[in-house]
């Protein structure tokens, strides 16, 4: 970045740690950007005339006489229509060989939406996957993560969801993504001919981890531009938020902060909430929907990252390999979409909520029957019927390779109810049974 003539250059660094360096400087604003020998850094602490900078790329090779220049602004992104179809790094610089984007410069991590100016989300986002549309319906303006172990195909499911959903823009924020996954997304999107509505901000495993901290704000600043200025429906994909949290932990550790649970900073909840709460339905029609990935370690959801995420997001989607059918399914027990009641039974057929609950309840009965079977007990006739139901239900509805519309999903479920059960066993309002039971 070129230095301007009037800018003061400091050359005396008093302290260097792995991620930060300190120097004496005056007239510096909190959060301001600086360059340290050309490396981008940000002010994280001011005490009198002592300023501490967090160097995004790490402090390797920085000498005590490094040239430090303060840029007089916080991290920002130039926004315009030209963003569409482009790939950027964490600083918002193009990495696809194309020209720089011209446009209005906006500080990232901007202010929150006034809650009274939000509109209640009410538009269904159809994905064709019954584990989502039937049991955990998504709504525009929602924020929801996939909770998945690193070996599960969450990026594939997410790419599918992104392409099937009716949106104007898809913004990918990749944090600590492997280069292979990055190329996977690039391929899928370009093969689908959707590249012109995709914008990507990518930090791969090859880039320094601290840079990741900028990715969500970059992606969401671009999203706000399209949702506010152009009233577009924007879908933001953030993968993987656990890598983001790890970067937060690194920085807080280097700044000698007292860690709380699982070595995560005490402010983890607020840090994550600031990102996820950017999901919004604007009154003028634009919306930002966030689908994220939080990778788990051995399925442990009590770890600080998934735990705090669960309290912030509007539900979560769990993927699980079902050994009975040999496919990956969306786990109906642990998955939840908190906004589903805004659309299910309202934008979808009236029987949707009851059918969904009844099917999950019967699936739970099947799980009990399975435990009984594994413990060597005799199964009742009802147990056997639930097991048969569960297998069909998983295969025809829960598996992630399903692609149906919601009405078809409901009909399939009624079909399974009628095939295996008596009406009094499903506990559904009589009127609905009378209407939909397959005789």
């Amino acid at each position: 970045m070129a230095t301007k003539a009037f800018q003061k250059i400091y050359t005396k660094i008093s302290q260097i740690t792995k991620a930060t360096c300190s120097l004496k400087a005056t007239g510096v604003g909190y959060d301001e950007l600086a360059t340290v020998n050309g490396k981008l850094a940000q002010v994280v602490k001011i005490m009198g005339d002592e300023v501490t900078l967090q160097v995004f790329q790490g402090t390797e090779g920085i000498p005590t006489n490094a040239e430090v220049v303060f840029l007089g602004k916080s991290p920002s992104l130039k926004v315009s229509e030209q963003l569409a179809g482009r790939f950027f790094n964490a600083f918002g610089d193009p990495i696809d060989g194309g020209p720089d984007v011209e446009g209005k410069e906006v500080e990232i991590g901007g202010p929150s939406v006034n809650p009274v100016r939000r509109k209640q989300p009410s538009e269904l986002i159809a994905t064709g996957i019954a584990g989502i549309d039937l049991n955990n319906t998504l709504v525009s303006g929602q924020k929801i993560p996939f909770f998945a172990d690193p070996d599960q195909p969450f990026n594939q499911v997410m790419a599918n969801v992104a392409l099937r959903a009716e949106t104007d823009k898809i913004i990918l924020g990749g944090m600590g993504m492997t280069n292979d996954d990055y190329l996977y997304f690039k391929n899928v999107f370009s093969n689908a001919g959707a590249l012109d509505r995709i914008i990507s901000f990518v930090n791969t495993t090859e880039n320094p981890p601290v840079e990741r901290l900028l990715i969500p704000d970059m992606a969401l600043t671009a999203a706000e531009y399209f949702a506010v200025e152009h009233n577009q429906k924007v879908l933001v994909l953030l993968t993987d938020m656990t890598s983001y949290a790890d970067a937060l932990a690194i920085v807080s550790n280097r700044m000698d902060q007292i860690p709380s649970k699982d070595s995560m900073p005490g402010s983890l909840y607020s840090d994550l909430a600031k990102i996820y709460e950017k999901a919004v339905q604007f009154p003028a029609g634009g919306s930002i929907t966030i689908i994220a990935v939080t990778t788990l370690s051995g399925g442990d959801i009590t770890h600080a990252v998934p735990d705090n995420t669960g309290y912030i997001t509007e539900g979560q989607l769990f993927l699980r390999r079902d050994s009975d059918i040999g496919k990956v399914i969306v786990d109906p027990f642990r998955s939840l979409s908190r906004l589903k009641q805004l659309v299910s039974g309202k934008k979808t057929r009236k029987d949707h909520p009851q059918v969904m609950n009844a099917a999950v309840r019967l699936y739970a009965d099947a799980a009990n029957a399975k435990t009984k079977m594994e413990n060597g007990f005799d199964l009742t006739n009802y147990d056997e019927r639930t097991l048969a139901f569960a297998k069909d239900y998983a295969n025809e509805l829960l598996a992630i390779d399903v692609n149906l519309d919601t009405t078809e999903m409901l009909d399939v479920t009624w079909g399974l109810f009628s095939k295996y059960f008596k009406p009094e066993e499903v506990n559904i309002k009589k009127e609905l049974v009378d209407e939909h039971w397959v005789k």
Binding site: T26, S112, Q120, G141, K261, A273, G315, Q341, N375
Partner: protein, 585 residues
Amino acid sequence: MATKGTVSGVIANMVTLAVDGPVAQNEICYILTGGDRLMAEVIKVVGSNVYVQVFESTRGLKVGAEAEFTGHMLEVTLGPGMLSKNYDGLQNDLDKMDGVFLKRGQYTYPLDKESKWHFVPLVKVGDEVEASAWLGEVDENHQPLKIMAPFQLEGTYKVKSIVAEGDYCIEDTVAVLVDKDGNELSVNMIQKWPVKKAMTNYKEKPRPFKLLETGVRVIDTVNPIVEGGTGFIPGPFGTGKTVLQHAISKQAEADIVIIAACGERANEVVEIFTEFPELVDPHTGRKLMERTIIIANTSNMPVAAREASVYTAMTIAEYYRAMGLRVLLMADSTSRWAQALREMSNRMEELPGPDAFPMDISAIISNFYGRAGYVYLNNGETGSITFIGTVSPAGGNLKEPVTENTKKVARCFYALEQERADKKRYPAVNPIDSYSKYLEYPEFEDYITKRINGEWIGKVNEIKTRLLRGKEIAEQINILGDDGVPVEYHVIFWKSELIDYVILQQDAFDEVDSVTPMERQEDILNTVIDICHTEFEFDTFLDVMDYFKRMINVCKQMNYSEYKSEKYEGFVKQLQELIAERSVK
């Protein structure tokens, strides 16, 4: 002259100021930066260095920026015109703010200076009054709001003049009081009060005893909460904390409902904004929003203001209690409040307590819950603040500081359970771990005996015992198999399932089932207890399951039907026939 300060350091929202005069702990100051005035609160003083927590983003703040101290603590402005308002954690009126995004340093007045209120005097010239005495009354949304003598008064004052009945603005003088030395004091409709100080303008705080009806069976029937009681709802995410809390705030028999959305999702607040203006209060037939005040400090709003938001809400509640109203205060979630305390304590480099929370977290929580309660006011009237807080325990583990410290002070415990939620048995309140200490109060027993009958508490305890027994048998069946236990055990188990399905489980999204008035709850409990007392005859455990499933189905259809409607009576008849089918005469 007001004390001034200069910024000497910035770490996130903690700022150090060098000051030129006296400052008080918790005093409010404004820091001037780039044309914005950022509100901040003093949290520590070391010599002439003052540490303040800023209620806004400190982006771009520079060393040398100036600050002005105000000479008072964080306070709220109280008066007519607060009902159905949406405030932020510092009591700024969110609807008065411009633009879609919140602007830093924008503060809006919480009341309306132009609105006229129809004032009816309640005192006459010459009357002696004390602090908080009712001077007059105005009507807001059909609530009789009292205009009170200033809360800060000391000793007795005489009413020198009082305006005649008529329409006045909040800033108009409505009365002039005079103390024993002849000093005059003009009184208008506005009061101010520092949020962190509890109002103690009442005569006595007895043990609460009056049932607060919520329409939620698992609360009213099983573990009732009372007017002026305290309760808390801990639960892992996804177990229905918010749905339950919304149900209570919609249905509870309270005059005023204050909802403090503290560090929670903005869309949940939007749900209230959207639905409450449409929904009807089941007790008065008026719109729910008319009795509701929302304090919204959602999770993306500044952390320091989150800490303030619960105090703001409590102080507003105390204001209405002093008028003799029944206030229900809900805070979702108190864990976020504790986390805000933790973030600040961490930045101040205090030695941490358990889980890095500040050492005094236990005292902070108990002081806060202590502000709720049922009171006899100085004029003999009563008022109450019922407080229900949710707790979001990390990892769903109830052995964490916020849950444990809350358990010490709250009298009702509604434990939401992951296992029940997974099985979609909503509300997922665990009937065995949860409790209401009020069931043990003789005062409550007297009250409920008059309201329902003397057998009520015995019946409630019976279903609790049956649920526990049912759970034990379920475990035995799991170990020994269906055939491994006598058929009678299956009957006992299925009777407990009946209680679970018919009383505990309730569909919060069904128009009829979502609210059960006390009269109907009594009916349901009696029906279920009668079935539990009936002896049935079965050959095999399969018959038991089959039979009770049919019975549960009929009872559920009853719950879904309008009370005493033709449809309902039809199901009652079906149930009686079903009982007759198997009962041993």
